[in-house]
Symmetry: C3
Amino acid sequence: MQESRSKTSGEVAALTGGRLVGPDNLVLTGVASLDEATATDVSFLGNEKYRAQVLPSRAGVVLVPEDFAEPPPQGRAWIVSKNASAVFAKVVQVFAPPPVVFPPGRHPAAVVDPTATVPGSVHVGACAVVEAGAVIGEGTVLAAGCYIGHDARIGANCLIYPSVSVRERCRLGDRVIIHCNSTIGSDGFGYIPGPTGHTKIPQVGIVQIDDDVEIGANVTVDRARFGRTWIKRGTKIDNLVQVAHNVVIGEHCFVIAQVGISGSTRIGRGVVLWGQAGLAGHLNIGDGAMVMAQCGVPKDVPAGAHVVGSPAMDRREFVRTLTVPKQLEKLKNTVKELQSTVAELKKKLDAGS
Amino acid sequence: MQESRSKTSGEVAALTGGRLVGPDNLVLTGVASLDEATATDVSFLGNEKYRAQVLPSRAGVVLVPEDFAEPPPQGRAWIVSKNASAVFAKVVQVFAPPPVVFPPGRHPAAVVDPTATVPGSVHVGACAVVEAGAVIGEGTVLAAGCYIGHDARIGANCLIYPSVSVRERCRLGDRVIIHCNSTIGSDGFGYIPGPTGHTKIPQVGIVQIDDDVEIGANVTVDRARFGRTWIKRGTKIDNLVQVAHNVVIGEHCFVIAQVGISGSTRIGRGVVLWGQAGLAGHLNIGDGAMVMAQCGVPKDVPAGAHVVGSPAMDRREFVRTLTVPKQLEKLKNTVKELQSTVAELKKKLDAGS
Amino acid sequence: MQESRSKTSGEVAALTGGRLVGPDNLVLTGVASLDEATATDVSFLGNEKYRAQVLPSRAGVVLVPEDFAEPPPQGRAWIVSKNASAVFAKVVQVFAPPPVVFPPGRHPAAVVDPTATVPGSVHVGACAVVEAGAVIGEGTVLAAGCYIGHDARIGANCLIYPSVSVRERCRLGDRVIIHCNSTIGSDGFGYIPGPTGHTKIPQVGIVQIDDDVEIGANVTVDRARFGRTWIKRGTKIDNLVQVAHNVVIGEHCFVIAQVGISGSTRIGRGVVLWGQAGLAGHLNIGDGAMVMAQCGVPKDVPAGAHVVGSPAMDRREFVRTLTVPKQLEKLKNTVKELQSTVAELKKKLDAGS
C-alpha cells in the first residue's frame, strides 16, 4: 500500500532484533495485513485469530511469535520475536511515508487576534482563527480551519486538527492531540424545565484537559456549569464520545468510540469504557473499573469491577442472565415430567381408593 | 476556579434572598462544587446525593435547603433558601467572568455573498461564509468559520457557533442557538436499493427550526425528502443527536445526548428522550412521553407513557423482566421441593399398593 | 412548503404515467405529506401505515397504489400507479426548487497550495483549504470550509460538503459524496497500554473510499494502522457513524446512523447495519447479513444471517427470549396447580394410610 524505501529481509530482522527463519535477501517495500500482503510486504501475526492465515499469506516476511513452529514456504521468511505486535510497530515506521510536517509560522490566511499570544514556533494553518486573549504554547500546531476561543490556553507541542473548536477560557496542557471536528467547551445541557419553556442555566465553567490527553474526531466535551469539566493526564478518548458538563475523567483511562458520560460523573484512574457504553449522571466509577460495550450504567461502579449489560451488572451475573432461556426450557421439561408422574400417582390412587 | 469580583457572605446572602447562618464578613471570590471548593468559594447542595459532603467541604459558604439542620463549622456559613439550585444559578452569575461579546459587524476575513441580506447588527466572524440569497435576522451572531447555505433564513438574535453548517434553504426562528460542528440540512438517508447499486432519492425539502430551540454540538439534522424536518419552539437538543429526514419534534422537548430518531417519526410536546435512546421510523410519540436511556423504540408510545428497555416496554413490565433470573431461581427451588414430595408420595403409594 | 412551478393534475398524471381518477384541471404547486398537504399539493401513499390518512388529507392529488378502491372526494383526484413511492420521486423533482449550483473555479478566499493539482472544472469554495500535493478530479466540488490534506486524492465529480476534513494521503474514488463535518482519515485508536501512560501506535495507513460511496454528516472514518481502512463501491453511510482503523466495508452496504464498527472488522457485500448497532473488532460479517438496530455483535455473523439483541443472536432466538417473562408466568401457574394436586394427593394418601 505505501510508497516507501526498500529493505532486505536480513535488514528487517536486524532492525527488529528477532530471529530470521528463511532467506535474508528478500526485497521488502511495505507492510500489509496477512490477507492483503504481497511478496514485497512484511506482515505479522498479532492476533491468534489469524494464525491460520500465516501460511496461505503471500507476505514475503511474517513476524511470528516464538511458539510458531511451522517453517516458511520456499521464497518466504519468518522473523520470530517475543512481541510480534510491538516489533511490528517499529517495522511499520521504517516503511511508513514521512509524516506531514506543519512548519512553524502563520499562514497568510490564518486569522490571529492581535491580543493573542502565539509564539513563532507555533504553526497556524490557513483559515485557523485565534480569538482575543488566547495563549498558545511553543511548538503547537493549530491546523487549518481550527478555532481557538477567547482567552483559551493551549499548552506546548499540542496538535489541534482542522475544524476543531476550543471555546473561550478552556485550558489544554502540553502534548494534547485533538482530532478533526471535535468540540471542546460547548455549553453543558442545563435548563430549569417549565411547561411553557425551559430556562437556560448559564454554563460559565470551563474544560480543562491535562498533559498527554488524546481526543478523537467529532468528540464533544461540554464546559462546566461552573468550575471545570476535567480530563486528566494521559487519558485517550476515541471518536464521537460525549463528555457532559462537570464530568471528571481520571488519569490514563481509555474511552472507546460513541461512549456517553452524563453530567458530574467522576471516573477514576485507569478505567476502560468500551464502545457505546452510557453512564448516568452523578456517578462514581472506581479506579481500574471496566465497563463493557453498550453497557448502561445507572449507579456507582466499585474500583476494579467489570460490568456488562443494560442496566449494568457484574460480569458473572450477566452470563447467568444469558442462560435464562435455556434454564427455563430445562425447567419446563422437569415440570412436564413431574406432571406425568403426578398424573400416574393420581390414577393409581383413584384406582386404589 | 474563576477569576472574579469579590463579595462578602453578607452580600451574597442579600443577593440570594436567603437566610444567612454564620459570619457575614467571609470574603468570597468564586463558586465551586462541594469537593473542589476552597475557603473563598460559594458552593451548594443541589442533589441529595452530596448531603454528606457539606460539612467536610472547605467551601466558605454553602447554599443549603431549609431542612438542613446542622450548624456551620467555625469560620464558615450557610445560606438557607427554598430552592438552593435556582438560587445558586444567580450566585454563579455574580462570580462568572463576563461572557464573550461578539460585536456587530463583519470581520474582514468573513465571506458574505453580495446577494445575502446581513444587517449591520449581525456579527460575522472570521472565515464565516454566507452564501447567495441567505437572509440573517437582526442581532444574530455568526461565529468564526460557520457556514450559512444558499437562501437559508436565520432569525434574529440567534447564536451560530464555529464550524456549524446550515445548508441551503433551511429556516431558523429567533433566538436559536446551535453549538459547534453541528450540521443542519444534510441530505436525508434515502435510496432505492438495488443489488448492483442503490439509487439516491433526492432530498429536496428543508429543515425548519422554530424560536428558542437550542441544539448541541456535533448534532445532525437531515433535511426532508420533501416538505420539512421540523423542530418546534423551545425544544432543547443535546450533543451528538441524530434527527433523520421528515422527523417532527414538538414544543419544549428535551433530547439528551446521542439519541437517534429515524425518518418521519413524530414526537409530541414536552417529550423527554434520554441519552442513547433510538427510535424507529414512522412512529408517533405522544405528548409528555418519557423514553429512558438506551431504550430502543420499535412502535408508537402513547402520551404520558414511560418506556424502558430494548425493545421498549412499560416501566413496570421492564422492572419485572429484571427480576426474571431471581423468579426463575425461586421457581426451580419450588419444583425441586415438589419433586421430593412427589417422590415420597410415590414411595408411599408403591409401598402401600 | 416549496416555492415552485405550477402544474395541473392532468399534467402530473401524464408525467407519472399513472391513471388519473378525478378532475384533470386541479392546479398544483408543490408536494407534501398527507397530513401537511393543502389543496395545491400532490401527496402520496407510500407506507401502508398512512392508508387511513388519504381520504381526510386536504391534498389536491394523491398518488395511490392499484389496490386503493375508494373514489376521491369532490374537487380532489387520485393518480393510480404501480409504485407510488418511485413515481412520487419524479413528482418531487418537478416541483423541487432548482438545486444549488457550485460553479467551477476557485473562490478568492479559497486556499489552494501551489503544488496541489486542481483542474479548472473543480469548484473550491471560500475558506476551503487544499494542502500540498493533493490531487482533485474533474468536476469535483470542494465546498466552503472543507479541508483536503497533503497528498490526498479525490476523484472526479465528488461532492465534499462544508467543514469536511479529509486527512493526508487518503484516496476517494469518483462521485463520492461526503456530508458536512465528517472526518476521513483521523488516527486509529491504537496504544500500547501502560499503568503510567499509554504509548501511541503510529497510524500510518490511509482511508480508501471507492466510487459512488456516500457518507453522511459528522461521520468518522479512521485511517489504518498500516495499509488501508476501505469502504467499497456503492456503500451508503448515514450520519454519526464510527468506522475504526483497518475496517473493510464491502460493496453496496447500508450503514444506518450512529453505528460503530471496531477495528479490523470486515463486512461483506450488501450488508445492512441498522441504527446504533455496535460491532466488536476483528469480526467477519458475511455477505447480505442484516444486523438490527442497537444490536451488539461480539462474534462473526454468517452470510445472510439476521441478528438481533445485545449480545447478538439469531432473530428467532431473540423472539423467544422476549417471551421468557410470559413463559415463566405460565410455568409458575402450572407449578402452582401441580402443588395443589400434589397436596390433595398427599392428603388423600395420608387419610387412606
